[in-house]
Symmetry: C2
Subunit: 216 residues, 2 copies
Amino acid sequence: MFDQKSSSKIRNCILRLSRYKNALYRLEKIGFVKAFSDNIADAAGETASQVRKDFSLFGITGSKRGGYQIDELIQNLNAILGKNGNQKVVIVGIGRIGRALMEYEGFKKSGIEIVAGFDIDPEKADNQISVPVFHLHELQDFIIKNDIRIGIIAVPYIAARQAFDMLVAAGIKGILNFAPIHFKGPTGIVVTNVNLEVELENLIYFVNAEEKAKEL
Amino acid sequence: MFDQKSSSKIRNCILRLSRYKNALYRLEKIGFVKAFSDNIADAAGETASQVRKDFSLFGITGSKRGGYQIDELIQNLNAILGKNGNQKVVIVGIGRIGRALMEYEGFKKSGIEIVAGFDIDPEKADNQISVPVFHLHELQDFIIKNDIRIGIIAVPYIAARQAFDMLVAAGIKGILNFAPIHFKGPTGIVVTNVNLEVELENLIYFVNAEEKAKEL
């Protein structure tokens, strides 16, 4: 387990490495074979010196003349990020957000597979959903039997705490939480909170702040 | 317009103030009238000293004995965050994510109103959607006529650049982007990128990193 301070630094670095990797895939797609730190920085929304600093932390070096070999670099980043094989993920809550996530095409592309959904009302699943849906009381068994490490919470506020506690009790290692409550992981469990309402509210605040700053 | 460095500090502070505000609403809901920085810190997932520091930056002070008066504090935070009245928002893209957002109940609670959706295929809208859906070529007129400042992008990767350019050309001030591409706002336009795929991937990386750290 990381302590809070170093954990946040490591997280920020991992976030950037992951952005570089996605940027490299995009550069590769449009025909690039080599890339300079400037190219990667532009594509990932960072500065070139940040890119070089992050890479050098992990012993990745390019040549001044030739830059980085993209395929090697992607391999290196994947090794650092520890992505290996398909990741099986379960979703708790099959409301609108849950269903949208179940059918989200981007996940498959990244080797992420939503293998099951769970709900107190599994009948809610319509036949448009290709992912099997089970009753919430089957959650723990399913997670243990299938060695699931990652769970998504997509239930309303009122049901979020129960969903969180059930996932933790079942031994899940990482939780992506879409419910409007800020969960903190107990020791050894990583939690990412995505609060759509707060994201949109904050955007409005930023816009207001920009406009106020302009008036000054 | 902020420069990049101070902009990121201001953003982080605004993000925390917004979390404090939501925490205060929750505390108020369960009957609290006053709150100490510890209570707010616990509910918002921050430290008490960070809470006091952020408040004092904006001249908000509590008494040592009595703490903060919650209703006053919320008023102060709303004044700082510049939230006033309903915010009208448009969505470009009415696929699964777009439709889930259109019907997302949390938005209304925060005074955010999704007033219209736009798509190259407006026929896709089923009659379950209560928000009117128009063809994409009506976007600019609608934004100008209705003085819309905030737009959401919920289109696939391939259509994202066009959607972004159209929103910018129409004079939008803030964009919440769900497409898997990292947009940076031109001067005076605030962009928040929410990449669900990257969020989930990063969570997997964090879990891997935690497990590696445990082995060391």
